[in-house]
């Protein structure tokens, strides 16, 4: 990416993000968010993360599968995001060191 492209892309992302931050306040000033829209947005925010994660995890291979499994297990047990992240990374790194 050229520096100009990079700057433009980052500014555009920043603008879109700001629009979501101010958007709720602007919309509420006009119309109440309907339960349907609320439900859609709620499922959308989780789904986008799932869609982001699944294909690369599947295609990266066993190191990623192990990392995800360990992070998920640690997260369900401890609910501590950072600890789970580090454990998952350690498991994946360990697999790569041995494989």
């Amino acid at each position: 990416m050229s520096p100009l492209q990079t700057i433009l892309a980052i500014l555009a992302i920043g603008l879109v993000t700001y629009a979501t931050r101010i958007g709720g306040i602007l919309i509420m000033a006009r119309i109440p968010v309907s339960p349907r829209i609320e439900a859609f947005l709620r499922y959308l925010s989780g789904s986008v993360l799932v869609a982001l994660v699944v294909p690369p995890v599947i295609h990266t291979g066993p190191a990623a599968w192990l990392g995800v499994a360990v992070t998920l297990a640690a997260m369900l047990r401890t609910r501590h995001a950072l600890l789970s992240l580090v454990l998952g990374m350690a498991a994946a790194a360990g697999y790569r060191a041995l494989a």
Binding site: I10, G46, S47, A64
Partner: protein, 246 residues
């Protein structure tokens, strides 16, 4: 409620109160910021661009998500749509704070909105329930978070540039995937999420193979959102299975 009669304001004292309450979360914010700095350098973003992104976007999950799409030529529609989708929750968060924000003059709403993130939003909601009416609470905690996020990003960038680490050897290439796994685990509210997420994952996987690059996120997200909405609608017509939270 009598507290809703208290005038809404924005003061320095309120900012200090908010910043103080934020302190407990700063260590984990620094570490996630370091992880982002490292991941961004790993994805090929320059150090200055990584800092610019943290400063201008200030939304961790979407920044991680955008990394994959920061390529030349810029895939504009997937990039902006993904960032929008990841951050769409802000719209609801802002709507929740409307009773507070909404009574301020328009110009005074701009700054609090800019620094609203998941963490300080949650704190602000609790503070409002306790009777806090000074939006400085959100601004103070938000500004402290922003500085911390920027500093942590810089630290991550400096780490990568100072030490020549083999990113794959330490599984740094997986940081953002694992980060999202953590986020999803804490986001999950029940079975209805599983249905939406299963549809999202399956659609994304199919799209990855059949659609041009970068469209899998958007197709998966929309499919999951629609599946969730349909499930939600069906449940509304079955009052006997009324088990949604709140």
């Amino acid at each position: 409620m009598t507290t809703s009669e208290t005038p809404v304001c924005l003061t320095a004292a309120g900012m200090v109160r908010g910043a103080r309450q934020m302190a407990f979360a700063l260590v984990s914010v620094v570490l996630f910021a370091v992880a982002f700095g490292v991941a961004a350098r790993g994805a090929g973003l320059e150090g200055w661009a990584t800092l610019l992104m943290s400063g201008a976007v200030f939304a961790g999950a979407s920044q991680f998500a955008a990394l994959e799409l920061m390529t030349a030529p810029v895939p504009w529609i997937p990039l902006l749509a993904v960032v929008f989708a990841v951050n769409a929750r802000h719209i609801l968060m802002g709507a929740v704070l409307y009773p507070w924000f909404g009574r301020l003059p328009f110009v005074q709403r701009l700054l609090p909105a800019a620094v609203m993130t998941d963490i300080n939003w949650a704190l602000a909601v609790q503070a409002y329930d306790r009777g806090e009416r000074d939006i400085g609470h959100l601004v103070g905690s938000g500004l402290l978070l922003w500085v911390t996020w920027l500093a942590g990003t810089g630290l991550g960038v400096a780490l990568v540039d100072a030490v020549t680490i083999d990113l794959e050897r330490f599984a740094v290439d997986l940081v953002f995937l694992l980060f999202f796994v953590c986020l999803l685990t804490s986001l999950r509210r029940g079975r209805s999420d599983d249905i939406a997420w299963l549809v999202a994952g399956a659609t994304a996987l199919v799209a990855w193979h059949v659609l041009p690059a970068h469209w899998h996120v958007l197709s998966g997200a929309l499919a999951g959102g629609i599946a969730g909405l349909l499930h939600h609608e069906r449940r509304r017509h079955q009052p006997e299975r009324h088990d949604h939270p709140q």
